[in-house]
Point group: C2
Chain length 219, copies 2
DNA sequence: AATCAAGTTGCGCGGCGTGCAAACTTGCAC
DNA sequence: GTGCAAGTTTGCACGCCGCGCAACTTGATT
């Protein structure tokens, strides 16, 4: 019976998982900066050297979770119909982030990460990496249409702004709700994402508080 | 005759300058990742230990230049009249970046930095730091007006988007012109900044190539 | 000149990241 | 199964990093 993944691949995936799990456990238990790679390796049941075969640093191990998270959103983006306005595609893709199953592992990481400058860096890197991928995805989409010339500035400005708004929404949500993952909290996150995209779509014309405030008051 | 800066402060400033100069020299000469803190210290005429009294890492020393650069733009932003639309203030502030004297030291750093993932990180950090400061500046501005409630989401989305657009403009400019600092090149940068802000102001409604392309063709 | 704070330096230590070669594991063909 | 090739893990060693500490030098103050 031929398995989909070979033994080797399964082992590697398991080890990888063990490492990230160990890293998260230690982050929870000891706080950022209070444990070493050696600690992670020991907890994961591997050697220090093997750890470095998988990740270049503690931060990289933790950031891999964020990457997985953002990749999910990216997949959604790529699946949107090509004739849809980009902003709408982005909005829809970001909406995935408010799904409990998807956001749960990240919310905690967000909390723990924000305590350390060192770790915040790699988060930045993850967002930036995501931006680059959105640019690629958007470029492909434009290239598919007849009008051949792609405006690189438009692309990069848009992608960067979309990500910035997504980040802003998450920051505000987090500041407001902490690690709360209740349906109400997620509703707020959704609305924040919608509002941020709304601001972007209207060129930030109205600084007036939007529906989020109202929604919050209703709850 | 009381000098404005004490001897001590002068010395510290000089040492600091010597370090960043040394770091840049070595970056030019050996390329990113091919020199150590010890090398920098030696070039700057100080001990390794003293280097760490000033900067926490090689990247931090190099990033201090970028910080200075972005701080210049921030000062400009804070000096804008409070009743001016934020986007216009931002546009005006970013325009300072196209000034030859200001941009010259950075353009080269940009080139050298983009060769190294390690160094690109600290650039990201610098931009992010700038974003946070814009948020503060904008918040102060809003707080000064009668309508007390400040929409944090609006603030963060806008600041993030502005910075993203500035970054996008610089990326495109760099990809297009390399380290070229000629007046024509800087004119393009200016126009890119204007266009990026334009896209932002119109909610990215038109993906059509803008005046930058035309300007480029005219040159 | 005496004194004290501020700044520099050498030393030592634990941690990081990696090349290398020796084990060990898995996949495959016979 | 046996054996072999390819893929993985591991220990070892090395150079570099970042910082605490204690001695030392320099600058300001009186």
């Amino acid at each position: 019976m031929p398995e989909l993944l070979s033994r080797r691949e399964l082992n590697k995936a398991a080890t990888r998982q063990a490492i990230t799990d160990a890293a998260l456990t230690l982050l929870r238990g000891k706080g950022p900066g209070n444990f070493t790679v050696e600690d992670i390796a020991e907890t994961a049941g591997i050697s220090r050297r093997t750890f470095f075969n998988y990740f270049g640093s503690t931060e990289a191990a933790l950031a891999s979770m964020t990457h997985g998270f953002l990749d999910t959103a990216l997949q959604q983006f790529r699946q949107r119909p090509a004739d849809e306005p980009i902003l709408e595609s982005a909005r829809a893709a970001l909406m995935q982030l408010a799904d409990p199953m998807t956001v749960a592992p990240l919310a905690e990481l967000f909390t723990l990460t924000h305590e350390s400058a060192q770790l915040s860096r790699s988060e930045l890197e993850a967002w930036d990496h995501c931006t680059e991928q959105i640019i690629s995805a958007a470029r492909e989409r434009f290239a598919a249409t007849p009008g051949a010339a792609v405006d690189e500035l438009y692309l990069r400005s848009l992608a960067g702004s979309v990500i910035s708004c997504g980040k802003a929404a998450m920051d505000v949500w987090f500041a407001r709700c902490g690690a709360d993952l209740s349906p109400e909290s997620l509703a707020i996150l959704r609305q924040l994402l919608i509002d941020a995209m709304g601001h972007l779509g209207t060129g930030f014309s109205s600084p007036a508080p939007t529906s989020t405030t109202l929604l919050k008051e209703r709850l």
